[in-house]
Subunit: 347 residues, 2 copies
DNA sequence: CTTGGCTTCTGAATCAATTCAGAACTAGGA
DNA sequence: TCCTAGTTCTGAATTGATTCAGAAGCCAAG
């Protein structure tokens, strides 16, 4: 049996397709009795209502924004950072009764296809890699989109924190405490170019912020021990071990992320040393585990970030031409001092 | 300037629309050189790729399932129960690279419109009221859908816990401890009909489970003090106050939800009595606050429920005719005994 | 009696793709 | 040389609605 459409009903009732369409979408355009008769026949024939795909095709708006997270869709409900961000975004979305399409794709490469297939009015990209294929697909779709957290691309609306300034804050906090021998742990490429920090990822911006603080304190960046570390607890542990082997030993280890910092804490304990008496350690992000571990770190306003991203896309983005007045919003951050930092041991 | 479509490109290159379509969707159907030329021209003209709305209209599948929560979209990322449920659902969805459409609607009544507008292959309804307008809209869309938690509707696939059996478990736990004077708090209608528990909501099922246990213990349900309570902490407090005024006073208060039970705890303290020495209190659901308050309650497998719902819709649902082999899956539950229950005071 | 203004309804064009049967061409084997 | 098979491309139909200009009918005012 063929599917029931407007046409089926029009023929059954003996009116035009237009009239049946109006019965559903514009009740004021036809006599109430006729409308009721059409609705009755529609129900009788088992009509599902106007097909939303056809309607969207004609109308050109769907009332949905696509949200690009990582490969794993469940990440949206697992990572506390993501949950808080999405809560803020959802608060804004519901105001304009916009639905959120949490997008899934089987593997890294098919993200492109996912972006192409999504029936949405705009996108939000949450912390994608700088060279993620989805970014190119996003550009090609020519729909408005906002990037949250990472990466910053020229001409694309962006919401994040000023990583460089935040990094400056945490580093100068250590310097003010009196630390002079610093070790830095970062997951970026070995010969990362700080001159180019603006267009680089968050890692480079954070390193640049550290350097700013170091030079401001009258020290040289060359005297700082910069060590690569894989972005995981274990990576941080291994990287920190290298730093602790140096003579003289650094009195403070500055990590570019909490995860690495947590590994550094472990490495200090491995050596039989204590934090903060022998070595101070700082992180970045304030993930929940940082609080438990007493890690001094930089906190970002997670839900507020989601709300800002939502407003940027829904209030400005959808009306303007894509990339029109590309804005770059930097959220406030906060230095959270906990028990992993203190005066250097000499004092 | 008019929008760039397949036709625009076809004319620019000098081939048919079909060929351009194939260049994007079926690369094996045309010569590689021609395909490249088409792609180049498309990029040059600023083509956004095949419009997914048109494609979905023609193909009839969208790869999206709609998720109906409450009015507030941010609830999805606020309530820990919802977060856990959605995490489980997302795990299943990502396997078949299905995206989740978290749906928003401005008010209670416009839920219907939201259901009608959604471009999806199926729906999941999460804990809606028995008479929520979205349910009727869901039926009319004639797409496969699964109901999670509540309500159970004849012929609609359902995943939940066996509220009646779970309620039986908690009540007989109290009875085994020796409690004989019970008070029950529920948010349902005053004269709720237990005979009809099957088609009623979860409240009636839970009450029926309590009754089962009471009668099994050789007592009469008429001897149990059944008290209405508004579904909130305050409601539970007020309702429990009534029960505590009775002579003889109940030695145990069984609440149909944790929220009400938490109110009951407060009411006991208001009287200068202690839990569990003077009165035992039980809840239902195991919300996070229940753990903090030491409330004995029934725990449901939240993520597993989400996974089960996902499988039911994605593995079975989307292929079958809607409502075909309607299944009703009841998840395992667990009695969590904490410090709000003990032997009755006489002992 | 005509004109103007309503309300109610219709026909045809449009939205942007996909799909299917088949045309044109090339190449290879008998 | 003819027949078959394969590749590459095309035209027309199809997907299910919305939209717009306008037609028909009716009533009241001039």
């Amino acid at each position: 049996m063929a599917r029931v459409t407007l046409k089926t009903i029009a023929e059954a009732v003996g009116v035009s397709r237009t009239t049946v369409s109006n019965a559903f979408s514009r009740p004021d355009q036809l006599a109430p009795e006729l409308r009721q008769r059409i609705l009755d026949v529609a129900e009788e024939l088992g009509y599902s209502g106007p097909d939303p795909a056809a309607r969207t095709l004609r109308r050109g708006r769907s009332g949905v924004v696509g949200v690009l997270l990582t490969e794993e869709l469940s990440y949206a409900f697992t990572d506390p950072y993501a949950v808080a961000f999405l809560r803020g975004l959802a608060e804004i979305a519901e105001i304009s009764s916009t639905s959120l399409l949490l997008m899934a794709w089987p593997d890294h490469d098919s993200a492109e296809a996912a972006v192409r297939e999504a029936i949405v009015d705009g996108f939000i990209a949450f912390c994608l890699d700088k060279d993620h294929p989805a970014l190119e697909a996003l550009r090609q779709r020519r729909l408005p989109y906002v990037i949250a957290g990472e990466p910053y691309l020229d001409g694309v609306p962006f919401v994040g924190v000023d990583d460089r300034a935040a990094a400056h804050t945490v580093a100068s906090y250590l310097l003010r405490l009196g630390h002079r021998r610093l070790g830095v742990l970062h997951p970026g490429p070995a010969g990362i170019d700080l001159a180019d920090a603006g267009s680089f990822g968050a890692v480079a911006a954070r390193l640049a912020g550290f350097r700013d603080a170091v030079e401001e304190a009258g020290l040289s960046w060359d005297d700082v021990a910069v060590q690569h570390a894989i972005h995981s607890r274990e990576g941080g542990r291994a990287g920190a071990a290298r730093l602790l082997d140096l003579h003289p030993r650094p009195t403070a280890i500055i990590a570019t992320t909490d995860l690495i910092a947590l590994g550094a804490l472990a490495a200090v304990h491995d050596r039989g040393l204590t934090v903060p008496d022998n070595v101070s350690v700082t992180g970045f992000d304030d993930i929940p585990a940082a609080g438990e571990a007493g890690l001094t770190t930089i906190r970002q306003p997670k839900s507020e970030k989601g709300r800002t991203v939502g407003r940027l896309l829904l209030d400005d983005g959808l009306d303007d031409a894509p990339g029109g007045g590309a804005r770059r919003i930097l959220m406030a951050y906060e230095l959270i001092t906990r028990s992993s930092t203190s005066l250097p041991p000499e004092f």
